[in-house]
Symmetry: C2
Subunit: 427 residues, 2 copies
Amino acid sequence: MPISANDPSRKSWLDVPQNSDFPIQNIPFGVFLTKDDVITIGTRIGDHAIDLGALQQLNYFEGIELTDDMFMQDTLNDFISDGKKTWRLVRNRIAEIFDAENPKLRDNPKQRDIIIFTMDEIEMQLPVLIGDYTDFYSSKEHATNVGTMFRDPNNALLPNWLHIPVGYHGRSSTIIPSGIPIHRPMGQTLPNGETSPVFGPSRLVDFELETAFITTDANVMGENIPVHEAEEYIFGMVLLNDWSARDIQKWEYVPLGPFLAKSFASSISPWIVTMEALEPFRTKGPTQSPTPLPYLQSKGKNSFDIHLEAYIEPENAEATLVSQSNFKYMYWTMSQQLAHHTSNGCRVNSGDMMGSGTISGPTPNSYGSMLELTWGGKNPIKMSDGTERKFINDNDTVIMKGFCKNNEVRIGFGEVSSKLLPPFTRK
Amino acid sequence: MPISANDPSRKSWLDVPQNSDFPIQNIPFGVFLTKDDVITIGTRIGDHAIDLGALQQLNYFEGIELTDDMFMQDTLNDFISDGKKTWRLVRNRIAEIFDAENPKLRDNPKQRDIIIFTMDEIEMQLPVLIGDYTDFYSSKEHATNVGTMFRDPNNALLPNWLHIPVGYHGRSSTIIPSGIPIHRPMGQTLPNGETSPVFGPSRLVDFELETAFITTDANVMGENIPVHEAEEYIFGMVLLNDWSARDIQKWEYVPLGPFLAKSFASSISPWIVTMEALEPFRTKGPTQSPTPLPYLQSKGKNSFDIHLEAYIEPENAEATLVSQSNFKYMYWTMSQQLAHHTSNGCRVNSGDMMGSGTISGPTPNSYGSMLELTWGGKNPIKMSDGTERKFINDNDTVIMKGFCKNNEVRIGFGEVSSKLLPPFTRK
């Protein structure tokens, strides 16, 4: 009988701290640099990083059809291209190798030394080469909050919002993994009440609490992906901090959408949690009314119960939890987003990334951006060190966490953490 | 004395038809598939495609620092990464090799057989792997026409337009070279006077007459490129047909900008004409008033006199010239676009592509889209076969051409040609 990586009763011979995001039931995929400066594809159990390239060289994936160097690469794109069946075989095999009852690697200290690292011995990299990055705008609460603040509270949602998973193309070149600091962007803004713009550091740098999914090769150009097939093409998910400069955005975004207000940086958590690992946490999303057009209709539990948190950590002070949201609040599902995205024949490739848009919940403490949490800066947030925040200050670190939890198991994303440095200065 | 590839008096020992876009003074760069199914980097003189990989293997680039397989690749990205000095050395060397007075290759029929193909023996490919694609909106006439039609003729330009080279992120995965047909996209639209959208084939497929420039690695994340340095990072230009579905665009684009209305296809001419080759055709662009902010100010001849044409060719009928425009009408220069794009620290890589936006001139016959040429479909265009067009019909081929010309030399782009097929049907 084939082993299932999701079996909640399984224990690993590797120690896993209580409340770890990475029990043996998770088995996410990432890319890391070892202390010997080798880049490899890996997974994580507890606080151990596991070199899948080394595992492959030692024949642990025998019997699974893989190219010889599948895991000795600096991105997951080729592995993701191999498709769902291969992802499942590999993930199940990893569960088998690290199962508490399996002595093969457990009792081979020499091989363990080659294969297993502690997290502080490695450096996480971007897990995929992201060809195209799309960001959606699929939380009704977020769209309503923004519409209420900037337009008309009585017509907060634009006419297309309930019919279309609205989205736009983002910038791939500035997507970075957790841990890389960014600089406060410079940009053109229009001061309140003025008619001439000025150029200088953005005064309103914000985070957006998002998730993103990573796709495999899905279609040829011209072909669409039906909504009921869309999940076949989703490899897994990460946390996404879609950094935003609100003052730049306000001045630039009409009529072609956000551009430099977003393209200075987007930070993601480095471990891709597979859809397979998230399977036990399926749930129904909000009821959709009006009923979407047929090409967007899908039934059943198409959302996921993923608890999300955002923290601000001032320099030399403790982090303050500023938002608690949940992926299940999303109005449009990932399947609907992917079906819509390809409805015009747009090609989707392995390693493309699609963001959810800010995920805001129904209560004020579940809003997914400072713009909403402070209501445009009107209600500053009190930090645990006594200071206040309307937006993000220089040298603040923004940390996002995400996890699923039931009575049996906790599957988490780890975190995406990124420090906002002062504006870049030329040397 | 080093040879200059731009010397207008030079002749090649390869025959060049009169009015060819590709005299020995052009030397564009592209990627093609040979009849033996080998992909190589190449250039073109007259109607001859030249295999630079073969030239390199036969030591014709001796003395120029290049990696061994520089031209035996399927994209130009690595070559472009090498920077302006290398581009110039290689281009000058090619001019030398094919100079009428140089017998080395001219009198070596065996080598000529390996290196030189006729255009019908090869198949042009996408010249670069495009990491990120940005499209600007930099023709004042175009923005004014669109604003007049859709908003208020008295306030046709939006408040930011004269201060910002407005642009947005496009979709890289559906950029295709000339010759590849596309399908009429399906999409969601709101019929006139209705409140509920419908899904079906777009009824308003349009072209946009554009050029695009290809960049080299320009900066690290966080760093900007000053406007006066921007040209250092521009490798060359291509023609771009930014296919657009006007009915999809109208319903989807507020507030995040065009998305599926554009992402079904963008067609480019396959030869990248270098900025060096375009140097003799520098000209001043329109006067900018109000004066842009300092980070966008540049003086001198920062535009180029490039004549542009768009044709519609119905199936089994002659092509009709529907638009004659010129790159020099562009309000914002490429340097300003690149300086603006990086003003927030956005990283620009080798092989990124930046489109001009539709280039419309001051007269109605110089408008760069059917939307403007027929004024929203009100004034259909008479075709030479007697039919009329408001937008593009199924099985029409849209052909764009571009060239520069002075008393001494003509430097052209060839063409970008793409047929619009009926909507895609699943097999």
